[in-house]
């Protein structure tokens, strides 16, 4: 059971139109052999602020659509969530995680609303210091399951508010700072009420290909990281012993 109002004001800001980035499976997880549309939301997501539903509170599960303002932020959010980091912003790229995944560039054609959790915009919806600290934890914790209760609380808070036309409002989504790329943001749109027509696909790269691997390396480098190749066997025996060695 969740508790209390997480927001001091039920309000939203508007996402800027333009390019965003998201990571998603290449193939549809359910419909065998079918390519997944880069604009499809994920009903199975358990990522940050996912709404898994709570019958006791009357909150139904929603599908999640995550995008980020940089390719690196998208990669960290969906693929390298707990990266192995070394001093000098070195990050080990576990290449097997790229298998079956795609990085897509998508364009937002018309502004969509979101609850801002990045600073200073968070001040629009949170004034209380204790609530602010709680949100700071929510947007930073690497344990995403611990954030789901907060999302449900806000969904309940929205649904108890009457919007235009006299109908209850529906939480549209959140925006929050990327943990690893502090100058970038991640946006989550819930489906419903996400409008797929507000988005268009610009391009996609299959991360399992050489082009995809290069795209990952360049994205990380652009964000100020020093990507480290995961050790590869049989590569001049730099990392593995010759046959018979003990």
């Amino acid at each position: 059971m969740s508790t209390g109002n997480r927001l001091d004001l039920v309000a939203t800001d508007w996402m800027a139109t333009g390019l965003y980035y998201r990571v998603h499976p290449t193939l549809h997880p359910v419909r065998s052999g079918e390519l997944l549309s880069p604009l499809e939301a994920n009903p199975a997501s358990t990522a940050r602020l996912a709404i898994r539903g709570d019958h006791s509170l009357g909150v139904a599960p929603r599908a999640m659509f995550y995008v980020a303002t940089s390719p690196a932020a998208a990669l960290f959010e969906a693929l390298f969530r707990s990266p192995q980091m070394y001093p000098g912003r070195r990050v080990v790229v576990p290449r097997q995680r790229l298998q079956g995944m795609t990085l897509s560039t998508v364009r937002l054609l018309s502004s969509e609303p979101y609850v801002p959790l990045m600073k200073p915009d968070r001040g629009l919806v949170v004034h209380d210091a204790a609530k602010d600290a709680a949100w700071q934890w929510v947007v930073n914790t690497p344990n995403h399951a611990d954030t789901h209760a907060a999302a449900i609380d806000v969904a309940v808070q929205f649904s108890s508010t009457i919007g235009y036309g006299g109908v209850a409002r529906m939480l549209p989504g959140f925006g929050y700072p990327s943990v690893q790329c502090s100058s970038d943001s991640v946006f989550l749109q819930y489906d419903p009420p996400m409008r797929a027509a507000a988005w268009a696909v610009a391009k996609s790269v299959n991360l399992a290909t050489e082009d995809g691997y290069r795209a990952v390396l360049l994205a990380l480098a652009d964000a100020g990281f020093a990507p480290v190749q995961q050790p590869v066997m049989m590569e001049s025996h730099d990392f593995d012993p010759p046959t018979g060695a003990i």
């Binding site: 199975a44 997501s45 192995q84 097997q96 020093a226 066997m233 012993p241």
Partner: protein, 328 residues
Amino acid sequence: MAPMPSLASLEYNPDHGGLSYRGVSADEVERSTSPAAIRLFVPDVPGMDAGAISAPGIHRLQERFQHLCQDLQAQASVDWSVDAATTQYLLWNGDSPRRLTRVRRAESLRDLEVFRNFLAHGAEADELLIAVTNAGSHELFADLVRALAATLFAPGWDSAVVAQPAVVQISPEESARARSLALRDELLTRNWPTSTQVARLLGSQAANAAQYAAKKRTERKLFGVWSLKDNTYVHPDFQFDIQHQLHPAMPRLLAALAAVPGMSDADDQGGWRRAFWLYGANPLLSERALGTGESDLARSAADVFRTDPEVVIALADKEAARNPNVDW
């Protein structure tokens, strides 16, 4: 945060038999290299892409290196020596070298910060930064400089460099691979015990220590990584207690890691994927993430394992059971 400067670097590593030019960010400067290597840096064109170095950067490196040779001859009293686990950073400012800091790897983070702040705010266009890795003595450093000079100004170097385009681009794949090798070498400087040493530490009387250790590894009681330079397995220190005995939770940890995609014994014969996983800082192991304290500082599995092996094993289990369909 102020943007870190782009630097042109020259690295000479006798183990690998040559020198390389590349562009580096200031963040990369403290990247350790193999023992007995020296690296030189001069500020380069700001905003260069990762791995890129400008032709003027190359020529400035060569020019400044000649000055360094002259200075070395003139100032034999400068203490170039460092001990085996230390990287020494020096600034050559046109008059004489002065020491910026010496960094004992992974221990002097404050010193590294001082150095990085210097790079961010203090580097001037004509300054040459010299990183000395495991030079060990003035004589060895002088030998390295002579060997570097022989390579740098060998017949054909001029045409080889001039023939390059204005910007020499190292591919992102090459850069990532170079960092991987460097990280391997960095971890190897921790002087992890060899099979012979492990057998002795564990009190084995076996005639063949290598076979004794190999059997322990096969039984998943002992974790080893292949050291190319030593031509033997060495054994990361996190698995030993202060009495040098193997941690009793090692078999469960190794079994858990073997279930992580790409980290099975067959996929990771040299052990380095697992070593990178064990020694990298992971936010899921911070005190706050574990509910054991207030610190958000990411910690490595190797650091946490001795005191809380169950947490590390659980993390490996979680990694093995990871469902990519729920993370996006």
